[in-house]
Symmetry: C2
Subunit: 121 residues, 2 copies
């Protein structure tokens, strides 16, 4: 079995009481993954802009692309990500697709983040 000097702690710990106490409170893996995924979706400048824009106004893909100075394709790809995460919804009107935020569910989180960033500037 290969052992480096570095792996001592991988199977041990310093303070078993502390570790056990925190371990008991740890959220289930599913919750951790969900939380990370939620934050990750918000962790891209293009998506941040899209969400902010849609929090102001319902907009079509073309207007979003113009607004963000991005290609329609790039915007469309990102809208799909946001759609999959149920953060935005859309209505079709003729050949246009008007996107809006799916609900206020994420708006609070987004605003909380915005407050933090604007505070620390």
């Amino acid at each position: 079995m290969k052992r480096t000097k570095n792996d001592v702690c991988e199977v041990s710990f310093i303070d078993s009481k502390k570790v056990a106490a925190v371990k008991k409170k740890l959220k289930p893996e599913r919750t951790v993954q969900g939380l990370a995924e939620t934050f990750k979706v918000l962790g891209d400048p293009t998506r941040v802009k899209i969400i902010f824009a849609l929090s102001q106004q319902e907009l079509c893909v073309c207007d979003l692309a113009s607004l963000l100075e991005a290609s329609k394709s790039a915007v469309s790809h990102q809208l799909r990500v946001l759609r999959n995460m149920k953060l935005v919804k859309y209505r079709k009107d003729g050949k246009m697709a008007f996107y809006s935020l799916d609900d206020d569910h994420i708006k609070n989180l987004f605003d909380e983040g915005l407050r933090h960033v604007e505070e620390s500037e």
Copy 2:
């Protein structure tokens, strides 16, 4: 000049009034980048676990590694990311480094996210 059928909208828009109205409200690039970066840091399961653990208790690298069942190296790398973003701080005691959350600044944001995820389960 190369033009595809697809690039019409890249320099145009559908509803100039809407676009202009939203454009006026758009946050400055710096804010958008900061917001995205903040969310991105929270958008990783390992870092989510670290932040949650440290919100319960001050912990050393070794205990964190044991708790998360990750290598010390992996934890240390992530702690550096969190340190750079000023999300965690540490005190040295002998050869140990005890980490804790830098302030409650991010705690609210984290809890807001947690509430969302736990609500939708």
